[in-house]
Symmetry: C2
Subunit: 292 residues, 2 copies
Amino acid sequence: MRDFSQDHRWLSINTATVRKSRGRDLPLPDILDACVRRGIRAVSPWRDQVHAAGLEQVSKVVKANGLELSGYCRGGMFTATDDAGLRAADDDNRRAVDEARELNAACLVLVVGALPGALAGKAAHKDLALSRQQVHDGIGRLLEYSRAAGMPLAIEPLHPMYAADRACVNTMEHALDICDALDPSRSGALGVAVDVYHVWWDPQLQAQIARAGRERLLALHVCDWLTPTRHLLEDRGMMGDGVIDIRRIRGWVEAQGFGGYSEVEIFSSPDWWQRDAGETLDTCIARHRSAV
Amino acid sequence: MRDFSQDHRWLSINTATVRKSRGRDLPLPDILDACVRRGIRAVSPWRDQVHAAGLEQVSKVVKANGLELSGYCRGGMFTATDDAGLRAADDDNRRAVDEARELNAACLVLVVGALPGALAGKAAHKDLALSRQQVHDGIGRLLEYSRAAGMPLAIEPLHPMYAADRACVNTMEHALDICDALDPSRSGALGVAVDVYHVWWDPQLQAQIARAGRERLLALHVCDWLTPTRHLLEDRGMMGDGVIDIRRIRGWVEAQGFGGYSEVEIFSSPDWWQRDAGETLDTCIARHRSAV
C-alpha cells in the first residue's frame, strides 16, 4: 500500500470542492492555477465549469501545466420518459466523451440517473426497475462510442439515499453486474468509480472491490461521512472529520493493483465554499496525508 | 394478494406516528383510544411511550380493547465500547422481551445499533466490522432468552444512511445472513422486519424477500420516500406522497405467505406531529386503502 503521509503526489482535486471561495464562484482557470501552485498534479473538473471557461481554454491550461485528469465529471442521467429524452441523453453523453478525450481524462464518470423528474421534485413514475433497465441500455449504447474513442467509462454507484433522484445504481455489486454484462472480456473500457462516501457502509464492499479487480477499478474518490449528517446532499465531510475508515478501503482498492489518484470530492459543501479556496486546498493536502 | 381498498382491517399504527398532536405529546392511552375509535385493530408502541404510561396500564387497555401488537418497538442497540456496555444492552434487551411478551406482541423489533457514540455525534471508533460482529453476537445471546420466552425477534435492516449511528445492518441480505447463522432451522424465533422506507432502493429486495420466506417475514412497515428528502431522520412521507411502489413490495411479501398487518411508521415527522392526531390517523386509513 502506498505511503501518502510524506507528500501529496497522488492527490487529485475534484473541482466542485472549490467551486466557490468565500461564497463566490471561482472560475475553473483560477482553481487550476491554485492547484498547480500547490504542486497538486491532478484534478477532476465538472462539465459546467469547463463549459463556463471554454473547453479549448481549459485544455490549454491543463496541457501547459502538465495536469492530469483523474476523471471527467460527469456523464450519465440516462433515464427519460420517452425516446426523445433517451436520445437527448445519448447525444449529451457522446459530447461528454469527446470533451473527456480532449482533456485526456483517465475516465468519464457516470452518474446514471434515476426516476425521471424526481430531481425536480416530481417523479414521472415509481418503476425503479424500468429506470435500471434504461441505465443498462444507455451505458451499452454509449460504450460503443466511448470504446472507439478510447475513453473508459466509470459507473459511480451512488449512496442509496440518492436512488430516487440521482442514480439508481447504488451498490458496487449492481455496477459490476452491468460491467460484466456489457464488457465480459474486462477490456478496461468499462468499470467503476469507488467513492467512499457512497459505498463505505456496504457489507459487500471488500468482496466487490476484489471482484472488480484492477481492470474495473477506474477511480477512487474520498471525503468523509459526518455524524450527524445534516443534509442529504450538502454535508460531505473533510477526510478525517467523519467515521469512514478511508485508509482501510484504499488498502482494499490498492490490493487489486490500483495505483491512480485519490480524488477529493467534497461535493456541494456550503461550509467549505464559505472558506477561502486556498485554505480548503491546503486542508485537502494535509488530510490526504493524515487521513487517506 | 389481499385487497386493502375496501377496509383497514390489516392496518397497524406505529405509535410514533402520532406521538404528538398539534405539537404536544399525546400519551399512549390516548393514542390507543383514538385508534380503537377508528376501528384500527393493531398498533406497535414504542417502549418509552409504554414506560411513560406504565406497562400494566397499557397492557390493561390493550387487552380490554382486543388490540393486537404488530410488533414492539424496539430492542437492539447491541454495540458498545466495553463489556459493561455490552452487558447493559443485554439486560435492557431481555426486559424488552419481557415487555413484548406481556403485551403479546407479534415480535420484538430490533434496531441493532452501529458505531458506539456516533448517535451522540462522536464515534468511539470507525470499525464497522467490529460493530457488526457485536450485533451478531448480541442477537445470538438474546435469542436464547427470547426463544425460551416465545417472543420472535425481528431484525430491521435500516437504510444505509443510518449505518454510522443507528443500525449497521442495512440490507435484507445481511439481516438474513444473521438469521441463517443463528437460526438455521428457520424455527420462527428469528426473522426480519421489512420497512419499505429502508429497503425500497435495494436491487436485491425481491430476491431477498423470497429468500426470507414465510418463516422469516415477521413484520411489514410502510411509509414513503419523499423527493426531495429534506432531513435524514425527520422527513418520512405518508404513503402515496413519495416514490416507493409500496403495493409492489407488499405483493412480494405476501407472495411468501405473509398475512400480517401493514404497519404505518412515519417516525419522527414534525410535519405530521403539528397536525391533529385524528387527522393523521384518518389519513393513514385513507392512504392504507389507496396506496398500500
